[in-house]
């Protein structure tokens, strides 16, 4: 099973995990967006490779969507948004980078430990793909909980979603993959437009209790 096609798929999926780690320690929004674009590019390559080895030409649509929409259009839109919100130079405060990275390593170990024994019956390609995809999903979740800024939370969500698209394309012959990736792109476009329209700079769970009471309409 360890053919060239397997190794190449493995490398691209591993590259996604690596870019997830890159995102974890970026404290500047513009650098974070670059890392996201890189990840989307890798996702596009990984999906295109799956399309080739599974002989599933419809997956090319998903690959093109990943590259055109998520690697080019969304990063451009995000750059414009953070500039217009005046947060493009901002340095984000987050918990210690070392601690976040350690948590990330722990999550990767957890994902491999959970998935590899569970999928012992399936073929090697699918199980490695699912394991690495789960790593990307968990790292995306980790990023969402460690960030304060709405834009970087959304970037965390998009990275999470990259992991899911990777899992969906790795599952051989899954119907509706293209439709699902389109549906996800709509969701993301929605969220990005949402930041812009609503001018959301920070996520709302602040430690300031007064602000909380005001937002929840439960002021005394």
């Amino acid at each position: 099973m360890h053919s060239l096609s397997f190794d190449f798929a493995h490398m691209l999926a591993g590259g996604l995990v690596l870019t997830s780690f890159m995102m974890l320690y970026q404290d500047r929004l513009s650098a974070l967006i670059n890392a996201l674009a890189l990840q989307a590019l890798l996702l596009g390559a990984a999906v295109a490779w799956q399309a080739a080895i599974q002989a599933a030409p419809h997956l090319i649509i998903t690959a093109l969507l990943a590259i055109g929409f998520k690697a080019i259009a969304i990063p451009m839109a995000l750059r414009r948004i953070i500039r217009s919100l005046g947060i493009h130079r901002e340095i984000e405060t987050m918990g210690g980078t070392g601690l976040t990275m350690l948590a990330g390593i722990f999550l990767v170990a957890l994902a491999l430990q959970v998935v590899l024994p569970a999928t012992a019956g399936s073929d090697a390609m699918a199980r490695e793909d699912i394991a690495l995809a789960l790593c990307v999903v968990l790292l995306g979740l980790l990023m969402m909980v460690t960030r304060r800024n709405a834009a970087s939370q959304v970037i965390g969500f998009m990275s999470l979603e990259n992991g899911i698209v990777l899992a969906a394309t790795g599952a051989r012959g899954m119907p509706l993959v293209v439709e699902i990736s389109v549906a996800f792109s709509v969701l993301i476009a929605f969220i990005v437009v949402g930041i812009f329209l609503f001018r959301i700079r920070e996520r709302f769970d602040t430690v300031d209790v007064q602000a909380l009471d005001r937002f929840r309409g439960e002021r005394r």
Binding site: V114, V115, P117, A118, T119, A120, G121, S122, A126, I130, A133, L134, V137, L141, M144, A150, Q153, V154, F157, L160, E161, G163, I164, A167, A168, A171, R172, G173, M174, P175, L176, E179, I180, A183, V186, L187, F190, I191, G194, F198, I200, R203, F204, F215, R216, G217, E218, R219, R220
Partner: protein, 490 residues
Amino acid sequence: MPASAMLQAVLVIPLAAAAILALIPSYRWSAGLTMLASALTLFAASWLVFDRPILDHPGLDHPAPGSLLFVDDLNIVFLVLGAFVGFTSSLFSAGYIAHELRIGRLVARDVRFYHAMLQLMTFGMNLALAANNIGLMWAALELATLATVLMVGLYRTRAAIEAAWKYLILGSVGIALALFGTILVYLAAGDVLGAGGDAMAWTTLLAAAPRFDPHLLTLAFVFLLIGYGTKIGLVPMHAWLPDAHAEGPTPVSAVLSGLLLNVALYALLRFKMILAANPAAIAPGPLMQILGLLSVLFAAFMLYRRRDIKRLFAYSSIEHMGIMVFAFGLAGPLANFAGLLQMVFHSLTKSAIFFTVGHIAQVKGSQRLADIGGLTVTHPLLGWSLVAGVAAIAGLPPFGIFMSEFLLLGATIDRAPILAGVLGLGLLVAFGALLMRLHSLAFGAPRGPAGPITASIVPLAAHLLLMLAAGIWLPPPLVAWLQHVARMLG
């Protein structure tokens, strides 16, 4: 075949109505069309009860090719209940929105948007319920969620935008995790059924479930429970629910509690049936019982600290969804039956309460509990409706919820006495909180403005009378039907 035409009608009517409503600027026409579309959907859904398309047979290995839609004994309950609450909500919505337009809280453009979204959401929910494909169901639920996000943010106040944003982000994460679980189920099924549509169809999944890889199924269920559990509003993934209920227009709150939570519950139930059919995979019951009881207890205690009337009833929804998830987690014919009854009664009662609360908040010009008081004196009709609704939701005897909660407690005492104690505590605490609030809302010295109301009482009365009738006498065919579904759920 007329029956399959009716199945398509349940989907086509709301979708077509959404498209037309997006083009109609006049409020009067669009409110009328919304009511008409909801009535037609209700008619089509009710037709399906008696005349169902036979798309495939449970004994058959292969369903008719390309049948992405199906109706069976389980989802028809959800479809009819949803269509009914959708119809009465559209009646309520007409009066509510007219008032919002009059006081200038909404403009015509918002209302046009709102009506189109309401029908789009109905389409998404019906598609999720009728889908015979786990991927299609997922996409439909996402569509319904997005439509509700837009409606929650309709008022564009700071609080409404916060609520919509929180709902969007939490809902997106939940739905993403649910998709991951869906992919894992497909992988488990693909090893047995082969790649392709069969490995995603409910009809084939359930029959083949005993042969699936149990580890993969276990892993999948964890993701599905967290993912769809977020949409059900289970603690600790509930944070979006009170905000979304409180800040959106009240008809949306009624539809959220009465319909959308049920659809997410339906998705979880289907996957639970697959898990339960595979004895080597993790037992789904205990996980659901834990999350259910946690939701009941947490929501019951949170009820005491509410200061906003819509938030109060949103927490009560969390409590009731917890009861249902606990009941279905306990499983067995009696607990499932109680869970189904609870679901039907909760949908009817909670939407009736939100209809009342909508009118109350419009009269008082405020949603704060402190601004509302003595309703039975100033507005007897609204006041006594609220009394009836809260008595029903708290589980007082003449109403249906008393019966379902009683049945559930009985089943729990039989099977797990310790859990029955916890459940009983949660129910009592919630009961106390609701009655305490009701006392200051409905009785005591009148507070706040006491202007006249232009409430349409029909939807409210219909729900409350149904609840009362159901508490006193349930028609035997309905009982037999629900018992049959309860056995199906295992």
